[in-house]
């Protein structure tokens, strides 16, 4: 007999709404369905109503925790379209911001993973170490998240050099704490028992699903946009791509932790090598054409596509976030495991639903797009009307 156990849509501490239907037999998962769409906000459509210079603010809000990567990918798409040279200092600044983001994102994940395991001490400690990173973000950019730093052709704000010494000092502290955390994770026998060999994603499956980021790097496939298609300042500084081949949840945790150390390294070097100079190339207009941009978000490769017809707005903007590719791997990883492990396995790809929620409605039998944007709008207005009526207005 199988029972269906819902996880979500409002589940404590999965910070976003999503619904997994676990079909379980006793405590064993025999099948899994994912239902998304709770977060869909129609961002691509909104972007088409904004000017090129406004869009970064919208894509920043695709996902709060990738709020530097989405704009990076977007501005790179536009720069690709219009063949824009970006000043070197701006490149360094982009790297610093995206790496700070990766740091706090990975620490956040580590904390949540600890919480999923009922290890609240790890949760609290990881988040404690995350605070200084957010402080640095606030000092450098003016906000803890949603930095508003990216701009077509450069960055919006310069970094204040007088802050660098204190930033570097905190990076040293963080380095120490991170090494401590790495030690704690690799030495804890209970964690080994809980995480090793759990949620196996074989390299073949990872390839077949097109998994990205730490998820695939933990399956022994070292792909990383930062190295493979260098952008920002990643080809100007020295760093390593982390990958392990244990293919399990443990591996994903280790990859993320070690990546944090790499991020610290990159930030240090960038601050070190940065020279005073221009930060913006002063783009005036965007010619017709199309362009693409990638960035390695904390969860994997983010991809943006922009088409312009020569006006001041993109005529089409498409964003694809890494979770869109990573989430389906849950079929390969959770089936056959116990429901105790299901949450940590699902969490181990660090799913980010707000990123994923780009949709069209497809008819499952034909694979044809059943509704296009206009019809969707109509439907939506219809529904709003209904809702209003239901609530007695």
């Amino acid at each position: 007999m199988t029972t269906i156990v819902p996880i979500g849509p409002f589940h404590p501490l999965l910070e976003e709404p999503e619904l997994f239907r676990l079909h379980v037999d006793g405590e064993t998962v025999v099948d899994i369905e994912v239902e998304i769409g709770w977060n869909h906000r129609g961002i691509e459509k909104i972007c088409e109503t904004k000017t090129f210079d406004q869009v970064p603010f919208v894509v920043e809000r695709i996902c709060g925790i990738c709020s530097a990567c989405h704009p990076t990918a977007y501005v790179q798409a536009v720069e690709d379209l219009a063949d824009i040279e970006v000043p070197e200092r701006a490149l360094y600044i982009r790297s610093v911001i995206t790496e700070l983001e990766r740091l706090h994102s990975h620490l956040l994940w580590l904390g949540l993973a600890g919480h999923f395991l009922g290890y609240n001490t790890v949760f609290m400690w990881a988040w404690k170490y995350r605070e200084p990173v957010l402080d640095i973000c606030e000092e450098l950019t003016g906000n803890r998240n949603n930095y508003a730093m990216l701009k077509v052709g450069g960055v919006r704000r310069d970094l204040d050099e007088s802050l660098f010494p204190s930033v570097l000092e905190r990076m040293d502290d963080l380095d120490k704490h991170l090494n401590m955390l790495v030690g704690a994770v690799t030495d804890d026998p209970v964690l080994h028992a809980r995480l090793k060999g759990v949620g196996i994603l074989t390299p073949e499956a990872a390839r077949a699903y097109g998994a990205l980021g730490p998820t695939v790097r933990a399956s022994g496939i070292p792909i990383d946009v930062r190295r493979d298609h260098p952008y920002a300042a990643y080809d100007l500084v020295d760093w390593d791509v982390i990958s392990v081949d244990s293919c399990d949840v443990y591996g994903r945790a280790v990859v993320r932790l070690l990546e944090c150390l790499e991020s610290v390294k990159i930030i240090r070097r960038c601050l070190d090598q940065m020279r005073p100079g221009e930060i913006d190339s002063g783009v005036k207009e965007i010619p017709p054409g199309e362009g693409i941009g990638h960035a390695e978000a904390p969860r994997g490769e983010t991809f943006h596509y922009v088409r312009s017809d020569g006006t001041n707005r993109p005529i089409r903007h498409k964003a694809r976030a890494p979770t869109y590719m990573n989430l389906p791997t849950c079929r390969a990883t959770t089936v056959g495991e116990s429901i105790t492990d299901a949450t940590i396995i699902l969490a181990s790809v660090d799913p980010c639903y707000s990123c994923t929620e780009r949709m069209g409605v497809y008819d499952a039998s034909t694979g044809q797009k059943a509704l296009d944007g206009k019809q969707l709008i109509k439907l939506s207005q219809e529904k709003t009307r209904q809702l209003r009526e239901e609530m007695g207005e």
Partner: protein, 314 residues
Amino acid sequence: MTANFFIALLRFLIFPGLLFTAVVGLVMSWLDRKVTARVQWRVGPPFLQPFYDIVKLLGKEVIVPAGGSRMAFLGAPLVGLAGATLAATLIGTAAIYGGGGGFRGDIIILLYLLVLPSLAVILGGAASKNPLASVGASREMKLLMGYELPFILVMLVPIIQSGGMLSLGNLLSFQAQHGSFAASLSGVVALVAVLPCLQAKLALVPFDQAEAETEIMGGALIEYSGAPLAVFKLTKAMMLFTAPMFLVVVLWGGFGQTLGSALLGIGKYVALLVLVILLRNTNPRVKIKHAVRFFWGPVTALALIAVLLALVGV
């Protein structure tokens, strides 16, 4: 006869029963949260927090889930509370009045009473008609079957050592004369074996599978609100007092009659509790499968060793 009845009622309701245990239990649950917070670099809740929580819950709306069984749903928490209260009364009476308190065979009754709170959780979870609550209830059941065996084995140790005494009062006076069981080798082994059982009885990490927030959203208690939830919380707090106390009395010499030995007894209790709290904060939750295997494997083996040691008299 009536006087005796009143005394018994007083003992049950006020001291050392319901009221006293509730107050001490809530204070201890504050201690639990405070120590946890300190370990996690936080400040933690104010002293009166658990009291506020209970009073607040009592004032909230009670919702019975549609399709659930009303009787079982509302009755379950009361069963747990009654069990915890009775157990506390028996243990407290014996601890305070020494040989005079208690009766022959009460230790066996106590073993049953201490199971009631867990049974209540199972009952309540099953009555909620919520898939997550059922998972929680079934986990609680598995866990119960896991730790109950070594727990009972451990209880054999003092009985064997004392030559077959089955009453708390007698066990206490025996310990007063011959020194506490925990001073002997078998006693130490028994204490080590019983510690994880205690952790599981109190439903604390690593054995809190039935209430695992992140896996099954509060588990068996997911549908409870208002007063019944308050009763569950209260029962849980009272168990924080009752269960470690039981061990102190049965294995570790109890409280004695003098002020000094009473303080020592309280010290033992607090030490046991703090150990439990620290264990909870330095371990992740284990899988239910692993938990059961752990209890039936090493813990039971350890308990058996303790029993054998007791049989040969060390």
